[in-house]
């Protein structure tokens, strides 16, 4: 069973007076050289894992972390492509030190490797596998090397590794709570065979694992050279110095923000198994160099998989600060230095041990966005204003599938176009269109050909920008993507979707900007693909197949099925089509202040529609030439401003009005106390 004392400790190890003396006295230039050498080692090891992996999440998303931790399990330096998971391994190392080291029959020896994928012992959910190894100098553990990657074929009750129908941990596939899988350099084939036997796609599981093992072997081999060269005392002091420096820098940056209480409440439409409103209630009190976090008032544990553990909560905070405010320091546990936490037990942020939690990354991403929004508010009047960003979509929307592929082999995968999600508007420019999401630093959605050729029996019919999907604003939010696929080359395939945000918009505009539209899943069965897929020309006009736009898709012949964000696996037949509409990001500032020429450029590039330009941006222009009539535009905008003033009401009146509104009780079953 997990150890509460370990799990609830989100702080680094306390440094002794001797530690501090060593940190302050080591040769700074030698330290820099050592640190960069270590970083290059981790970066190169990460690239290696990317090449070796089988999961698309590894190769395309590049969801890989390679890190070196102190002897006590605090992350000192990493090369990472994903923020949410960066610090997760520390708890697993602490657990291993406390419970495995002196256990007869287990122990910790040179060249051992341990495997953890249980969030209660650190990490995110069962698909995230961390393998870690002690780095010895003679008989002393000096540090740890860890490699985390995502492999989805964990043998859960649905393919894809994140079963939306799961109601408890026992439906979520195999859990490995810090299990020794390599002993003194030798693979424990019995244990590995057992792990493989749980998987729908054992090849994928084992190839991904091989990458993690190889990473640790590589890091250990070079780390030993560094220990020989620099000596253990220097190395230990350097690792602690990395943490100390990051922490000091983060505290300094926090101290430059305005003190105050920053609240963010987030409502989500998906409780896991059905539509239902749930809430994350976040309050951050900023005082001097500290940030006091309180999540009291968040919804209770959910019956489905929309729950997270404290390590996920910490990961969400890490994501937000690393993305927006602490990007310029070494990413390690020092980034959490300014925080003090209150994470209420028996809430979706800290559920029961047997709760399903496989969608912790979904709810964790939502939390990360709320934290980022608090930060944006803090940064607005600060030296860091230029890095302020409006809300990103903030929802994960991942289709998954499983079955037998076109080569007759088992497959179980997620598609990852959501990786190219959009980013919110900045204070001086539009948001990034489909350029990545804050959770993932180097997200890659992969080529359609790569998916079709290697990953599964699907055929992409379209994949492009979705017009108007970025929230309007003085600077608009980034546009998202949409895509259409059909089942191809096999008679059937299980297909489902995970995520949230079809009904309630999680992203909100900033400083007068508008939110983006929500995301959608649609499928069409019995569509007579061969007939509908032909383009015709009638009266000189092209009549295109209906799968090239979302609007036309809805008119397609066949049985249209609008699926929830969280849709359990459904059996699709060959030629059935599904489309996925991802969420864009929020705008910043009033759209009436948007530069009309910038909007015209967006029209030329297919990012904004004429409807939007005329009705939201209120621009008067010639549709053919896109020539703007400046005076007429300004008149129209001025009139709109006057109308707004007329419609306005006092804040107290607004509060009175809003208090009278309450959603249908059916939607509040797992919400907790209203409001």
């Amino acid at each position: 069973m997990f150890d509460k004392a370990i799990l609830e400790n989100l702080k680094r190890e306390r440094f002794s007076a001797e530690d501090m003396e060593a940190i302050k006295t080591i040769d700074p230039v030698k330290y820099e050289i050592f640190k960069h050498r270590l970083y290059h080692l981790l970066d190169e090891a990460r690239e290696t894992v990317k090449k070796l992996g089988s999961s698309t999440v590894i190769r395309d998303t590049g969801e890989i972390i390679t890190g070196v931790y102190t002897a006590a399990g605090d992350l000192a330096l990493c090369s990472s492509t994903i923020f949410l998971h960066v610090i997760g391994c520390g708890w697993a190392i602490r657990y291993t030190l406390k419970y495995r080291k002196n256990e007869p029959g287990v122990g910790i020896y040179d060249e051992d490797q341990f495997w953890n994928n249980d969030s209660w012992y650190g990490g995110q959910h069962a698909c995230d596998h961390t393998v870690f190894t002690p780095l010895f100098y003679k008989d002393e553990i000096i540090a740890w090397s860890a490699c985390l990657t995502h492999s989805s074929a964990v043998g859960a009750c649905e393919p894809g590794g994140m079963p939306v129908s799961a109601t408890n941990r026992y439906m979520e596939g195999i859990r490995l709570p810090c299990v020794k899988v390599i002993e003194r350099g030798k693979k424990r084939e019995d244990i590995l065979d057992m792990i493989a036997s749980f998987s729908r796609d054992p090849g994928m599981m084992m190839l991904d694992a091989a990458g993690r093992f190889a990473c640790n072997v590589k890091v250990r081999s070079v780390f030993k050279e560094l220990l020989d060269k620099y000596g253990p005392e220097f190395v230990k002091a350097s690792l602690k110095k990395m943490i100390y420096e990051s922490e000091e820098r983060c505290k300094f940056k926090v101290s430059q923000l305005n003190d105050g209480i920053y609240n963010e409440v987030c409502f989500q439409d998906e409780q896991g198994q059905e539509y239902g409103i749930i809430k994350i209630n976040l309050s951050i009190t900023k005082k001097n160099e500290k940030l006091y976090v309180d999540l009291l008032g968040s919804s209770p544990p959910q019956p489905g998989p929309m729950n997270m553990t404290p390590s996920v909560v910490a990961g969400a905070f890490f994501t937000a600060v690393a993305h927006q405010l602490f990007w310029d320091v070494d990413w390690n546990v020092g980034l959490l230095g300014p925080f003090e936490w209150k994470i209420p037990e028996n809430s979706l942020c800290y559920p029961q041990y047997d709760s399903a939690i496989n969608q912790a990354v979904c709810i964790g991403t939502v939390l990360a966005e709320r934290v980022r929004r608090c930060l944006s508010k803090m940064m607005y009047d600060s030296p860091y204003k230029e890095d302020l960003m409006a809300d990103c979509g903030g929802v994960i929307r991942v289709p998954y599938f499983g079955g037998i592929d076109q080569y007759g082999k088992p497959c179980s995968e997620l598609t990852l176009t959501f990786n190219a999600g959009a980013e919110g508007a900045m204070i001086d420019e539009n948001g990034q269109d489909a350029g990545g999401i804050p959770v993932i630093t180097r997200a890659d959605m992969g080529d359609a050909e790569s998916w079709e050729h290697i990953t599964g029996p699907i055929l992409f019919l379209a994949r492009g920008y979705l017009k108007d999907s970025g929230g309007a604003g003085k600077y608009r939010g980034g546009n998202a993507l949409w895509e259409a696929h059909k089942i191809h080359g096999v008679p059937e395939l299980w297909w489902g979707s995970l995520g949230q945000g079809d009904k309630i918009n999680i992203a909100r505009g900033f400083g007068g900007g508008y939110p983006p539209p929500t995301s959608r899943n649609l499928a069409v069965f019995n569509n007579n693909f061969k007939r509908i897929s032909r383009t015709r020309i009638e009266n000189g006009e092209l009549i295109l197949p209906p799968f090239y736009s979302v609007e036309e898709f809805l008119k397609m012949e066949g049985d249209i099925y609008e699926a929830r964000g969280n849709t359990p696996a459904t059996l699709l037949k060959e030629d059935d089509i599904w489309i996925q509409v991802f969420q864009g990001s929020a705008g910043l500032g009033d759209p009436l202040e948007a530069d009309p020429e910038s909007v015209m450029k967006d029209i030329r590039e297919g990012m904004v529609s004429h409807w939007m330009a005329k009705n939201v941006y209120l621009i008067e222009y010639d549709e053919k030439t896109l020539r703007v009539e400046q005076m007429a535009t300004e008149r129209k905008r001025e009139q709109k401003r006057r109308e707004r003033i007329k419609k306005s009401m006092k804040y107290d009146e607004y509060l009175e009005k809003i208090k009278k509104v309450k959603p249908d009780g059916k939607l509040l079953k797992t919400y907790g106390a209203w409001p």
Binding site: V29, H40, A210, W327, D447, A448, F460, R534, T535
Partner: protein, 714 residues
């Protein structure tokens, strides 16, 4: 008397155009001219005129007697950076018109350095090469096996082509999903040609002909960049060829290719000239490696603005199969060169966040250059630090052609680094040099390690203006014991071109599943053998046809067969040299699979292998080579160990970082050293183009080729 014959090799860099002239009687001449960016041929012709002057003959006589000219051009880089290419349009599979702009999302951070991509909120994609309104889709779809799922609609192609042609475009790229698996791209070209003959001058580039390999974004980028630079590269290179013909040159101008080798202009894909200069340097490294019997080499070029490294491991260079060309992810088999923004002109600055000194990536360039140049540069640079520490002689920079100011170097280091940190300027200069060396050392370590090797087993070839100056420092931590420097290192890339053979490269994706299955059984499927054999046979035919058009005979051709393979389920392949060019039985299949496993284990370690996944083959690559005679380097007779007296210059104080003190140091003139001379450190050796720093514990030996070798002693 037989007239002397010449071969000339040219490398146009950003600042200088370097040339090497090799005579049939074994002499080697080198020359440098300023590059003329507006018309590169001007600088090149000036270079030839200088060679003629040195040979005391007319330009016409020189060129009449020149057998070949090899040319590394930097024009592809210039065109891409300046966005000076033609107005292109693209036709793609409907539904995928945004692919080029989305760049898989990752295009936003591709090619950025660590601090740039960490600042994610401000990371942006490069400017696209084609406007969105000039990218159109046509309804069609082919699947991964080449089956037509949606047929091409010809009427739609006509409508879309008409729209594009009315936009004043100067070229069309066609790239369809799985376009290399069937004939839709060719059909589109035919429709446009037949329907719009008045636009016959508009070139149409088919991605399936440029790179018939799966993964649509890199294939698309490869085709687009090729089309984008083609017009100007051809204009410039054919223009040069014309100018040379007018001056009586009758041989071919051979362009250096970034996959290693040269080819005629006609047989060159323009993209293959990108970064060809640094690649030529690696070929030079390979050539000298063979000459010295060294198989593990890191070729390290430290110039004014950048530090380039390429690794030769076990006599082979690394190949990048998805290279980033000016931040665009492409396809190809390019020799890998990694760069760091760190060189003599790199600016040192204090990182406000950490309070520590950083060096680069920004550079003072040649103008204003380091503060010591006296051209108005205010930022402290590496060269300023070297001057302050007495390593570079301010009176003998570029052989005395340029006088540098120690006082300006001191002033800027004091004001910008030393005073803010509360240090003296010598301490600050030391930190600048140590920081630079640390960065270089880490990149060398990373690149060697990435290929599964140990840096201690490598020799360094230190080239470029600052390579010989800093090489003993930046290798110190790596325990590298031998460093080679070259008499011609300032023009090393041009020299590398001179040893390049004629090479053409062809590839195609053809998947073969489970050559070996999970039970470690090897396929005996006749269809598999047929596919394997016919694929290489077709590539051979293409190679023979292309080279015969260049008047080479088939019998001169040497083929190298390569394949990209992977364990089943894996998503990335590795490139290996195939031990067989035909499969006729399972023994050959086993040999092929064993070669893959050996290469895999060498690179990633056995712990990463997964035989239970079986082994798949994805892509076939053929290199067709025609060997060309190489320049001959005459050995000199070794003379005394002690340098001649006239090589000694006046001693001066030099600060040696390794000893952390000033040393009254012996100074030598590199040009006056003789074969066999050995100089023990501490010493400084000055040449026209660089400075050699020999710390205590090292010796510098001039060998029979007059190259200088550093060796660690004690």
């Amino acid at each position: 008397m037989t007239a002397i014959k010449y071969r000339i090799d040219v490398d146009t860099g950003g600042t200088f155009t370097d040339g090497v002239l090799t005579t049939s009687n074994g002499r080697i001449l080198t020359e440098k001219e300023l590059t003329t960016p507006s018309d590169l041929s001007i600088g090149v012709m000036k270079l030839f005129a200088e060679f003629a002057k040195k040979e005391k003959i007319s330009l016409e006589v020189l060129l009449q007697n020149t057998q070949s000219i090899r040319y590394c051009t930097t024009q592809a880089t210039n065109l891409l950076i300046e966005r000076k290419g033609p107005k292109l349009a693209m036709i793609t599979t409907r539904g995928f018109e945004d692919t080029l702009r989305i760049m898989r999302g990752v295009g936003r951070v591709d090619g950025l350095c660590e601090m740039e991509f960490k600042h994610l909120v401000r990371a942006r994609r490069p400017q696209p090469l084609i406007q969105r309104n000039l990218i159109v889709g046509v309804t069609e779809r082919v699947d991964c096996k080449g089956n037509v799922v949606i047929p091409l609609n010809e009427e739609e192609v006509k409508l879309q082509a008409e729209y594009l042609l009315n936009q004043g475009i100067e070229g069309i790229v066609v790239c369809l999903l799985w376009g290399f698996k069937n004939l839709h791209e060719q059909q589109i070209r035919e429709i446009i040609k037949n329907e719009f003959p008045e636009y016959s001058s508009i070139p149409i580039t088919l991605a399936s002909e440029v790179s018939p390999k799966f993964r649509e974004l890199p294939r698309m980028n490869t085709a687009v960049i090729n089309a984008y630079i083609k017009r100007d590269i051809e204009k410039s290179t054919y223009g040069l060829e014309m100018k040379l013909k007018e001056k009586e040159f009758h041989g071919p101008v051979l362009l250096m290719q970034n996959f290693g080798g040269v080819a005629t202009i006609n047989n060159t894909f323009p993209l293959d000239t990108w970064n060809s200069g640094p690649v030529a340097g690696i070929l030079g490294g390979l050539f000298f490696g063979e000459l010295y019997g060294v198989k593990n080499i890191a070729v390290v070029d430290v110039g004014g603005t950048s530090f380039d490294i390429s690794v030769i491991a076990d006599g082979k260079y690394a190949v990048n199969t998805e290279p980033l060309v000016e931040r665009f992810r492409c396809q190809g088999y390019l020799i890998e060169v990694k760069s760091l923004g760190a060189g003599g002109g790199s600016i040192a600055w204090i990182n406000e966040l950490t309070g520590r000194v950083e060096v680069g990536p920004h550079s003072a360039g040649a103008d204003p250059g380091p503060a010591a140049y006296g051209f108005g540069g205010k930022d402290p640079t590496v060269t300023d630090a070297d001057i302050l520490l007495g390593v570079i002689n301010p009176e003998y920079y570029h052989g005395g052609r340029m006088r540098l100011s120690v006082e300006l170097a001191r002033k800027t280091i004091k004001e910008e680094i030393a005073d803010p940190l509360g240090l003296d300027e010598i301490e600050a200069a030391k930190i600048i040099i140590k920081t630079l060396n640390g960065k270089m050392q880490n990149l060398i370590f990373k690149e060697i390690s990435a290929q599964g090797y140990d840096a201690r087993d490598f020799a360094i070839f230190a080239i470029g203006g600052l390579g010989p100056t800093h090489c003993t420092d930046f290798t110190e931590e790596l325990n590298i014991a031998k460093i080679y420097t070259f008499l011609n290192s300032p023009v090393f890339s041009a020299l590398g071109a001179s040893v390049s053979d004629i090479v053409h490269q062809y590839w195609v994706s053809r998947r073969i599943n489970q050559l070996m299955n999970a039970l470690e059984e090897y396929t005996e499927d006749g269809e598999v053998f047929k596919l394997f054999n016919s694929t290489f046979e077709n590539l051979e035919k293409r190679a023979a046809r292309d080279l015969e058009m260049e008047d080479f005979e088939k019998k001169q051709l040497q083929y190298t067969y390569q394949v990209e393979m992977k364990y089943g389920d894996q998503l990335s392949e590795i490139l290996i040299k195939s031990p067989v060019n035909r499969l006729n039985g399972k023994d050959e299949v086993k040999l092929l699979c064993d070669t893959f496993i050996d290469n895999y284990n060498q690179t990633y370690g056995e712990v990463a292998s997964y035989k239970k996944g079986g082994i798949d083959l994805e892509t076939f690559i053929l290199r067709a080579l025609i060997e060309i005679s190489k320049p001959h380097f005459e050995k000199q007779r070794k003379k005394a160990k002690s340098p001649p007296i006239n090589a000694e210059k006046k001693r001066r104080d030099v600060f040696f970082i390794d000893r952390d003190c000033w040393v009254k140091t012996r100074i030598y003139d590199r040009e006056k050293l003789e074969a066999g001379n050995i100089i023990e450190g501490p010493a400084i050796i000055e040449s026209v183009s660089t400075t050699y720093k020999v710390p205590k514990g090292w010796v510098f030996m001039v060998d029979e080729f007059l190259n200088g070798i550093y060796e660690k002693v004690g």
